[in-house]
Symmetry: C2
Subunit: 335 residues, 2 copies
């Protein structure tokens, strides 16, 4: 935890108390996290439209430029003066995620609305529902609790938050309540197929070009149980892809039938690579990455590895091989 | 319509009447369509398990081999003798879709349960809900109407049918009711994330290899508004991909940002190609394919084109160009 962060004194609010808090004040600044995604933006704007509906002034501030693909709900909001404003953060698990806004607002968040179990409790008040699939699910419930009228655009923002944080309802964070909320949102003029097309079925030409190069780089090892995909600095330069563009590559590595360890190697310096590992039982991504000086979850982990690409590959293959030996030792699993 | 098919005399049943029909008889043969997908199989097995629950004998018969990925709900069923059986078809819009079972059963279906508006009414009785996202949605409602106990495996089968026919809730056939039903299914031991992984996030090594080759073939035209993807006979031979393996390729062609016409060219003979066109407004796939001697819907159409690959590409580009000229003529659309 960052030294600047408070680790005590956060008041935990329940749904009713949070709704009451939101009704009490009149001028709000709503903050999203940096590198904004569909959930932080959907949550911020849904809350913004909801507060507008009951006559509150509100302003959404994002530490980074909002990608234009969110333009169907993200608009320029009013200016709310800092002095009299109540500051709300949405979907921000740690104040460091506020990016460029951390210095100004980090220790001065009046209310944080979040769904991450890992929330570091840096705000004065926190509404945390770790069972919610997305923060947008929390916002929907708050607006319901406040009996705020939901508009079509509010519905689009909430839908976007939930759909993007669940991989369009594919992941393990989805619950009966998630689908029940979405069912209610379908009563609005949602145009969900168009939202889904923009969010899930649109790829930039440069990303397609990068995927082509990455597939060209595919190497299979250990009887096709391990795949290595490589994103060199040259590929990034040639295609102009970087940062979030590269997030989808690790997904490819775990989608190949029969593969138990999908490894993506991204170059981020002359002799420096970021390694992402995705595994299926009985292999363990966390164990593999620990051997490489990194760590993470059982099914998804990472490490930073130094050396030439050939050296890095050798280190990775050794770590994967060791984990396979451990995992399959004496087990009845089909090697 | 096939000459053998009846085009009259089909009795249209409502939900209540269909439930009554299913309770009345004791021995059922349930037929799926050929080239079985998640909906026809999910519907057949959900109905099978439901009928079992209320003491009926039932057998599921599929005209083709059931892919092993459906093994989590598709099992060997009992044998039901043809003589005394009531024959039900599920998700079968036309008797020709029964494949090898058409000759034996085509004119002898007692009840058809379907959601295709294009249903040719070939069965003696038909329960058709064209607003249902999937036939599995109809089966769920029928089991509810019959007050049949739903088991975990029944829930998995219904979930699979709905999820696969809606592209995991992405498409325009999804309604509020769809999500409401899924919400109810989440009360069972569904393990939806694992189902979704098998259905949506698993690719064979050979398909990944084909995708690599197809991306290598990508050609952009008309200021990147048109993409041509080619699947040659050689690519199919080298990778071992054919038939349903190739279905996903057209999806790539329509997912590239800025592309208004995505064209996939599949070789199916020495000088013979199957062309699939996907368009966005203001272009029209149907108009483009008509120029090539084919047809289809506004956003998705196809044609068979003869000639060398170079000749076929030239014909396609001419058709796309003409459609662009028509579409953008005098319009305020940004070219």
């Amino acid at each position: 935890m960052n030294k600047k962060q408070k680790d005590c004194g956060t008041v935990m609010l329940n749904l009713k108390q949070t709704a009451k808090f939101l009704k009490k004040h009149d001028n709000y600044i709503i903050l999203t996290h940096a590198s904004p995604d569909g959930d932080t933006l959907g949550s911020a704007y849904a809350l913004y439209y909801g507060l507008n509906e009951i006559g509150k002034n509100a302003s959404v501030i994002c530490p980074d430029v909002i990608p234009s693909k969110y333009n169907y709900f993200a608009r320029k909001t009013d200016h709310v003066a800092r002095e009299n404003a109540t500051v709300i953060a949405v979907d921000v698990a740690d104040q460091r995620l506020l990016g460029d806004l951390q210095e100004e607002f980090g220790n001065d968040i009046d209310l944080n609305i979040d769904h991450h179990i890992s929330n570091t409790k840096f705000a004065k008040n926190l509404y945390l529902d770790a069972n919610a699939s997305a923060t947008a699910e929390c916002i929907f419930e708050l607006l319901m609790q406040m009996k705020v009228n939901i508009n079509n655009i509010t519905a689009k923002a909430i839908y976007t938050g939930i759909a993007t944080d669940t991989g369009c309802f594919k992941y393990s964070n989805v619950t009966a309540k998630t689908h029940s909320i979405i069912s209610m949102l379908y009563e609005y003029d949602l145009n969900a197929p168009e939202i889904n097309r923009i969010m899930f079925d649109t790829k930039s030409k440069k990303l397609l070009e990068l995927e082509r190069m990455v597939l060209d780089s595919a190497e299979y090892h250990f009887d096709d149980k391990c795949i290595l995909l490589t994103v060199t600095a040259e590929m990034q330069e040639k295609t102009g892809c970087s940062g979030t563009d590269l997030e989808g590559i690790a997904v490819i590595s775990r989608s190949v039938e029969g593969v138990k360890a999908g490894v993506t190697i991204k170059q981020n310096g002359a002799d420096s690579f970021k390694v992402s590992v995705r595994t299926y039982n009985p292999l363990c991504a966390s164990d593999i990455c620990k051997k490489l000086g990194g760590g993470g979850h059982n099914a998804a982990a990472g490490a930073s590895v130094k050396g030439s690409l050939a050296e890095v590959k050798e280190k990775i293959l050794k770590a994967v091989y060791e984990n396979m030996e451990e995992a399959y030792a004496g087990a009845s699993v089909n090697k």
